[in-house]
Symmetry: C2
Subunit: 209 residues, 2 copies
């Protein structure tokens, strides 16, 4: 097992990775913690501290080698190989995620969409198959898929989570506005757009006075 990296650091590593990728594309070879931190929207000391949680990669007086650092972070984050993901709930949001082209570049691939109603009217054909929810376990288990995205209505979310876990999934990105109950070894990340808006609204009016 790897060295423990603080939760928030892991998140920022993902941000740094994207900044480094942009820099590399632009042919930049070296970046100081100051430059990189600016691009990532954090303080230089924080970036340095974050990086030292898994090694020493900078050259004093110079900075960091963009390509080397990018590779190292990618390795730490386990982004070395493409990860298959299934999506359950092919409504408005689910459709949008299925059609989103950006994930592959990011080393994730949504390999199939599941829905209770396969024939439901949808705007287009997808590159992925849309299958009946009944087929979830038979699809997921033999392929050893470990990640799932839930974009079903609230009332169905817990049932879908149970099925995903039963099929062997141990990481779930949940868009439904409910707290899912899952075993301890399953990781959940909740994305709740209404709450994000509500938070924004609160801090907005605070700033406005």
């Amino acid at each position: 097992m790897r060295v423990a990296i603080p939760k928030k650091t892991v998140y920022r590593l993902s941000v740094y990775l994207r900044c480094l990728e942009r820099l590399a594309e632009n042919g930049v070879q070296t970046a100081s913690s100051h430059a990189l931190a600016q691009a990532a929207g954090v303080k230089p000391t924080q970036l340095r501290k974050d990086l030292t949680s898994f090694g020493h990669f900078g050259t004093r007086g110079l900075g960091y080698n963009v390509v080397t650092l990018r590779e190292k972070i990618a390795e730490v984050l386990g982004r070395t190989q493409l990860q298959p993901v299934v999506l359950v709930g092919v409504g408005h949001l689910g459709s949008a995620l299925l059609a989103y082209k950006g994930f592959e570049k990011e080393s994730f691939e949504i390999v199939a969409g599941f829905d209770v109603d396969v024939k439901r009217k949808r705007r287009k054909t997808y590159s992925q198959p849309i299958l009946s929810l009944d087929k979830l376990e038979n699809f997921v288990r033999p392929r050893k898929i470990r990640m799932g995205i839930i974009t079903v209505p609230t009332s169905a979310a817990q049932d879908v989570a149970n099925r995903l876990v039963a099929a062997g999934v141990n990481a779930i990105l949940n868009f439904s506005p409910i707290v899912l109950r899952v075993p301890n070894n399953v990781v959940i990340s909740n994305v709740n757009l209404a709450i994000e808006l509500e938070n924004l609204s609160y801090f907005r009016s605070l700033a406005e006075g």
Copy 2:
């Protein structure tokens, strides 16, 4: 100006609010910190601490009145009136958000979508108008709209943010994978799905060993 409430507490208040709404719908009148915390996925002491940051609403030996607490939290979060929001970038994700019916129940309303290409092929008609990006400022300013959602490609995101700010928006929900630079009085919240997946994947494999 209101009493300062810790950042993370504000987020959880939104979660509690949704739990209370569900309880109220089910006719539950009173809930203990233990019951409510369970529903919200936090510890009872944390919930109590969170609530005391803006008052005392519980009855010792009994718990909290569901309806009263719900109203109080809604008031603190400023959810008393419907807030108009504009969305820029009517692609896959933007379309899904425009069509999402859940926001109104949550006191937000996306009142219009903007895009550089108004005539772009889209699957359906929306209840909101889709307007040219040129018309953004003339739409936003007179209506005193303060919140915006950015769902444009990365290359256009900073420009769109600048336009929103110029038009008077001071809170932005950003889905593009880039750090936006805005004045201090503007609040930004970033939602980056690729990073969420990457994080999930990291903690998933940690747990798996």
